[in-house]
């Protein structure tokens, strides 16, 4: 034990703070008793020794669970909030896709078949598209031991529709579901709809145990699940991690290489996600910003995949608010947008220039639409043709403040418009606020950012969701109304099942009319970005699903 006199020695600078602390504590402890006792001295020495041993033990620890052959760690951008498979409509899909299953699955574009069997082994529909029959897989059990059968399918879909939350609107009103026998289920509709596509959706189509469903949303919200999927929920440490473990009695079996355990960890900060994926602590990172991608592409051990998706971004133009209610002004805006600069520099190549309101990757896309062009002279000419004086050419643009891509594109547009005498005022904000403002005409901006992807694989999702005439706008934020377009889209919806070619023709015609009316600047088909460790194999991309089942993954 070193004795020191702080009042006298200059050499005290040499001592570390920790040692001083300990001595301070220990000496103080000794002196408080007004006596220097031998026993206290000994006990103090023992305490010090214990402290040193414990702190040495920590430095011997190894951190991070990465690199294991049996465990996969996924750095998600939020915790799992909605556990009820009838309601969940957001990033919960990350967990739901591995724990629950749907009747059928949509295959990646370019596959021979559009759909592949899931919990249904085969299916067919009547010629008029009003009756759908699914033959179910035999010998499948839910995680709670209940048998999977037609009654369970009927229960799941009806419960989802009855609760009416999330994406339950995918299922039509007035459908009648009958369990013909234990392994045959029939759905009868009032209007023809592609029930096979709807049943493949990542939202509102999961089949779960009726016994679990009866326990209600509260039971699910405690972190419980009862699906048929390859993984079961092992534990949920709220805000910290969700752990999925292998379902030993999964009908798909466990031959081949698979992970036995999956940890879904919410990591809020993007910089932390990047560090975790670089060090190998995480195997997947969910929310890497666009500007971090080039550096990650060059990092050893990290693999960046940027496949095509069904997401697209646009700035919807308000067709009823001055001065964008003038067609020439809207046309001018589409010529004032620098399409290549946005896609190359702002999106860092993680998007392609769009062609119309539907992404080029979706079936039913009209390939003959005019390609967008950046031409400031043409824009200026159109502004002059509109007849609106310069003093009245003041526009507003609203977008999600936290998105670098929206923000930078808006500023670029602002600069380009200034060159032709149009003032653009920036109005960034959180989604809840700007959406509320955009819905009613007195508070709506002239330009509104919008990113869209379909609920189930169909072009009508955009055409109805964004451009159908609405008395009070929900997502038709261009306040666009064209009865010809409405009629064409309705025709297409009715033909989707019975006459796909006819539906495509109707949809393509609708797209042509929309582009002519210019209710938006359709500027980017977004590429998905998957950032993962190179050692994790088995990943295939599918634009129909934001997240897919993690069952096919394994570590090399």
């Amino acid at each position: 034990m070193i004795f020191y006199h702080p009042l006298s020695h200059p050499n005290t600078d040499v001592m570390g703070l920790i040692e001083i602390d300990l001595l301070f504590l220990v000496d103080g402890f000794i002196l408080c008793s007004n006596q220097i006792s031998n026993e206290r001295d000994k006990m103090a020495k023992k305490l010090l020794l214990l402290f040193l041993l414990v702190s040495m033990g920590f430095s011997a620890q190894v951190f991070g669970a990465g690199g294991s052959k049996s465990t996969l760690l996924y750095a998600a951008y939020a915790d799992i909030k909605d556990w009820d498979p009838s309601i969940a409509a957001s990033m919960e899909v990350l967990m739901l896709q591995s724990v629950y299953e749907t009747l059928v699955y949509y295959n990646p574009p370019g596959s021979k078949e559009i759909l592949r069997p899931g919990l249904a082994t085969s299916w067919n529909n009547s010629k008029d598209g009003l009756t759908w029959t699914f033959n179910l897989r035999k010998g499948v059990k839910f995680h709670d031991g209940e048998p999977f059968n037609a009654a369970a399918v009927k229960y799941s879909i009806e419960r989802t529709k009855k609760i009416g939350k999330g994406s339950s609107w995918l299922w039509p009103k007035g459908m009648v579901i009958t369990a013909l026998n234990d392994y045959k289920v029939q759905i009868k509709l009032k209007n023809p709809l592609p029930i096979d596509l709807i049943a493949s959706s990542q939202y509102a189509s999961y089949i779960f145990s009726p016994k679990a469903g009866e326990k209600g949303t509260d039971w699910f919200m405690q972190g419980n699940a009862a699906g048929t999927g390859p993984y079961k929920v092992d534990s949920w440490e709220k805000s910290q991690q969700t752990v999925l473990v292998k379902n030993d009695s999964y009908w798909g079996g466990w031959s081949g290489k698979h992970f036995e355990r999956i940890i879904l960890k919410p990591v809020l900060e993007q910089s932390t996600q990047i560090q975790m994926i670089k060090s190998g602590e995480a195997d997947f990172a969910a929310l890497i910003p666009v500007d971090a991608i080039p550096a990650l592409k060059k990092t050893k051990g990290v693999e960046v995949i940027t496949p095509k998706s069904w997401k697209n971004s646009s700035y919807l133009i308000n067709t009823q608010k001055f001065p964008t209610n003038n067609l020439k002004v809207r046309q001018a805006l589409t010529y004032a947008w620098d399409y290549n600069a946005v896609v190359d520099s702002i999106y860092n190549g993680l998007a392609t220039v769009a062609q119309g309101p539907i992404p080029k990757t979706m079936w039913g896309h009209n390939p003959n639409l005019p390609k967008p062009e950046f031409n400031l002279d043409k824009a200026k000419q159109l502004i002059q043709e509109s007849g609106i004086p310069k003093s009245k050419l003041k526009l507003t643009i609203a977008y999600i403040a936290t998105s670098q891509e929206y923000s930078n594109s808006a500023q670029l547009l602002q600069a380009n418009l200034a060159r032709i005498g149009v003032t653009l005022e920036l109005k960034p904000g959180p989604w809840g606020t700007i959406w509320k403002n955009a819905k009613s005409l007195d508070t709506a901006p002239n330009l509104q950012s919008m990113t869209w992807w379909p609920g189930y694989p169909t072009p009508n999702d955009w055409l109805i969701g964004l451009f159908k005439t609405e008395k009070s706008a929900v997502f038709n934020l261009s306040h666009y109304s064209n009865s010809k377009v409405d009629a064409l889209v309705e025709k297409g919806v009715n033909l989707e099942v019975t006459d796909r070619k006819g539906a495509i023709k109707a949809y393509q015609q609708a797209q042509k009319l929309i582009v002519e009316d210019v209710p938006g600047i359709f500027y980017a088909d977004i590429l998905t970005r998957i950032v993962k460790r190179s050692s994790v194999k088995g990943y295939t991309n599918n634009p129909a699903y934001n997240y897919q089942s993690l069952y096919p993954l394994y570590r090399e």
Binding site: P10, P430, K436
Partner: protein, 341 residues
Amino acid sequence: MKKYLLKRLALIFLVLLGVSVITFVVSHVLPGSPEAMWVGPKPTQEQLDAAIKELGLDKPIAVQYLSYVKNMVRGDLGISLRTRRHVTEELSRRWGATFELVSFSLLLALLIGIPMGILSATNKDKGLDHTSRAVSISGVAMPVFWLGMILQQVLHGQLGWFPLQGRIDSQILIDSPIETISGFYLVDSLLTANWAAFSSAFSHIVLPALTLSFAALATITRMSRSSMLDVLSEDYIQTSIAYGVSRRVLLYKYALKNALIPTITVVGLSYGVMLGGSFLVESIFDWPGLGRFAVLSIENNDFPATMGVTILFAFTYIILNLIVDMVYYFIDPRIKTPDMD
């Protein structure tokens, strides 16, 4: 004394009422769409209308406030719009994490700050003094989030001494979970002799605690230094030296106790600063506490959650300052208000 305490407790109630009114008005006046958050992405107009009725958003704001207060008195702070759980459940679950972090940080700040301040005072104008004053200034000037990220980069990224984020190792949560007794991982793991968990929890708390404590550490150092200098120049110290009292006894028995009194004030204030700092630190280190919850609630204008967190923070801060005032009373018999007798 009783009268004094009762008066203070009554004041607490008034302050909390005021806090609740201000927070309620601000969160409801801010533009936003709480019903959109409640319903989820891509809702239909019917779902939105049903949500507005369900949440009572169609009633006038005064009526909404009164029903909120009525429920609050019964212990129901509403349901979080973002997580769909009861706010009281969310708060009680996360309170342990934040309280543990802030207390540990305060302990760290005291253990480092007080000796540093004292050494600074006794070595006035020498090398150690200048170093500690430089550390002090940087502590007050450095932005918390920047410091947190630098510590992550250096102490984890380059040196690998501490983990990157979280409260405990994923494996530990699965293999040897901590039995919840008090809600503090460090305490519970020690009580249940769960050494693996204690070690993991300790290594995870170091970086966030260092980040959070730094500003308070700086203030405590400066406070200790200046009050120690004041005390050392007092007459009774000079007298004791003249009487031949050993330097060590002098320092600890006579000078230190008196020098610590102003530092106790700073402790109370620092706790408040740290509660605020927890917003940033918990977000950077993915610490599952109230700070992170508050940030997410405010960002999404989840007003029941925001109000719950604000009231809880206000309450904690007030209680802590009451305790500090009580400590004053017991340490220094000279400090008294007429009510205290």
